[in-house]
């Protein structure tokens, strides 16, 4: 662990000396991380790869955006430079970035994490992009300049109205979707709490736009070994089938997930 940048009382960014992972990372992929086995937790935890860090054109590290939620995320918040962190990756299916459409990224809270590398990639292909970003309060909106620098338009929302629109980020998203001309096309990417993902996928379908959502399931292994991380996905016969989100995802086509079975 190279650096622990605490952004708030709950959020921090951990920079990890893992250049090999950085080399291979595609936007939307994740790593399985562990800061040390404790009596309460022996398993690793999944984290989106937040940044791929370059120094003089060489990839030197990756970072993760961590939010304190329980045992492991608390330990990751408390780490000091030099502490050892086990980190396995990159894992999982990345976002699809072939699309020449306007890219709309929808982030809820720590769901911002996969969008830093996605925005980098979109910027390098000059895809126009918008970040819809919601948080509890203004103080929990992070890395805004980062996205602005890459040319992203920002649409912000906070639950307490302290910055941007008051309410959930799906509110401005719906407004924007309604304003889209019939020939305009957006590719919608979403990451955040599951109810938000469902709302985004439903809105996208309603307005005839494609969506990709990155789901967050409890993961035991991250490698397809344990079958803990499944989501119900529509199969050819329109039936629900549980698919391992660590290898079949975490990014899914929003329309493929059977939200009512979630």
């Amino acid at each position: 662990m190279l650096r622990n940048t605490r952004l708030s009382d709950d959020y921090n960014v951990l920079t990890l000396a893992a250049p090999q992972i950085g080399e291979l990372t595609q936007p939307g992929q994740f790593v399985m991380v562990k800061a040390g086995v404790t009596i309460d937790s022996i398993l690793r935890r999944p984290f989106s790869i937040f940044e791929v860090i370059r120094e003089r054109e060489r990839i030197t590290a990756i970072s993760i955006l961590n939010k304190r939620a329980g045992t492991n995320t608390r330990a990751l918040y408390a780490l000091e430079t030099g502490d050892q962190v086990a980190c396995l990756g990159p894992l999982g299916r990345p976002f699809t970035t072939l699309s020449a459409r306007h890219a709309w990224m929808v982030a809820g809270g720590v769901g911002l994490a996969p969008f830093a590398t996605l925005a980098e990639s979109l910027a390098s292909s000059a895809t126009p992009m918008t970040l819809f970003y919601g948080a509890r309060r203004a103080r929990e909106l992070f890395y805004l300049e980062y996205f602005e620098r890459l040319g992203a338009r920002l649409v912000l929302a906070t639950e307490d109205g302290s910055r941007g629109i008051r309410g959930l980020v799906t509110v401005p998203l719906e407004v924007a979707l309604a304003e889209l001309g019939s020939r305009d096309a957006a590719m919608i990417y979403a990451c955040g709490p599951e109810p938000m993902l469902e709302a985004v996928a439903t809105l996208a379908t309603r307005y005839g736009q494609p969506s990709e959502v990155s789901v967050e399931r409890v993961m035991g292994c991250g490698l397809g070994g344990c079958y803990s991380c499944v989501v119900p996905v529509r199969d050819a016969a329109n039936e629900s089938r549980f698919v391992r989100s660590c290898i079949g995802g975490p990014v899914f086509n929003g329309a493929d997930i059977m939200w009512e079975k979630c």
Binding site: K34, V37, I39, D40, S41, I42, L43, R44, T71, A86, L88, R217, V218, G220, C221, L223, G224, G225, C226, Y227, S228, C229, V230, V231, S240, R241, F242, I247, K261
Partner: protein, 310 residues
């Protein structure tokens, strides 16, 4: 260093086997683990048909362990032999297929299908999964059921037959004996302990299925006891497991009477556990000037203690 062990007619290059349900179908690990280096790979439990398993949450962590109630989601034996077995065979893995059934006929049918295909090294009979209502544990918790499943499979295959015993009974050795007398070549133990956890804030069970199976280091001392009891009760080899995380744990299981061991939960925590364990085993034998790993089997020293170590 001679790490070879023998389970019935099956010879393994070393005693370290990936435990069923904890290593997918093996193929998922092809990129990061040399499948041929493992003693064997026990693949996820297979029914005749596909199964979707229980809704999530399917796992929860507990002190030094985890609960699972996957509900044996799986692709069924036919897709397995078509989609997964070829790669396992190609890699030279010694594939132990964990088979399930809701009826005796289903066990036999799954066994028959597998016996027809090259690349299957042994059949492990899952009569002990605590997470499904029909079949499985209903056989594994009765001596008659254990004998019936073992005989039914024995009749249709020449592959080594390895019933996997449940720890959720008063007297595990009697089940090992029932398996031996019905033609088993070995027994695997232990499967997970039936257990439960509650989220006190929501007051809901932590698993959608309410009950699940406890695995991981927490159960190791109980599993060691059961292996030792069974070692004293049967002649057939024992595949021991329950909470193994390193070479020391492997050796503990072998001293208690295991011929081979399986590693489950620890592979989730560290998928590179395999090399660590194999190297550690080698190192131990070297330090103790032993040349054959089989010399560890059952070699716990229970002679009266001369002096209390200080």
């Amino acid at each position: 260093m001679d790490l070879r062990v023998t389970i019935g007619t099956l010879e393994l290059p070393n005693p370290i086997i990936a435990a069923s349900g904890c290593f997918g179908y093996g193929v998922e690990y092809d990129e990061i683990v040399d499948l041929s280096r493992l003693g064997g790979v026990a693949v996820k439990g297979l029914f005749l048909k596909e199964r979707d398993g229980h809704p999530p949450p399917r796992i929860a962590e507990t002190p030094a362990g985890m609960l699972n109630a996957i509900g044996l989601q799986g692709i069924g034996v036919h897709r397995f032999v078509r989609e997964k077995l070829p790669l396992l065979r190609e890699r030279g893995a010694r594939t132990i297929v964990n088979i399930c059934g809701t009826t005796l006929d289903e066990y036999a049918e799954v066994a028959r299908v597998l016996s027809d295909h090259e690349g299957v090294s042994a059949l492990e009979l899952n009569i002990s999964c605590p997470n499904i209502k029909e079949g499985g544990i209903q056989f594994g918790c009765s001596l008659v059921g254990t004998a019936q499943v073992t005989s039914a499979v024995r009749k249709v295959t020449r592959l080594p037959v390895i019933p996997k015993l449940t720890p959720n009974v008063t007297d595990v050795p009697s089940f090992a004996r029932a398996a031996q007398e019905s033609g088993a070549d070995a027994v695997s133990l232990v499967n997970t302990f039936l257990a439960m956890a509650i989220d006190v804030e929501t007051r809901r069970p932590k698993l959608s299925n309410l009950l699940g199976g406890l695995s991981g280091p927490a159960i190791r001392p109980i599993a060691i006891r059961m292996v030792w009891e069974c070692f004293n009760a049967v002649r057939i080899p024992i595949l021991g497991m329950g909470g193994i995380t390193d070479a020391t744990d492997v050796i503990e299981f072998m001293l208690a009477g295991s011929t081979a061991v399986q590693i489950g939960t620890a592979n989730f925590a560290d998928p590179f556990v395999w090399n660590k364990v194999l190297d550690g085993l080698d190192d131990y034998l070297r330090r103790h000037q032993m040349t054959r790993v089989t010399d560890l089997i059952g070699q716990i020293d229970t002679s009266p203690r001369k002096e209390v170590p200080v």
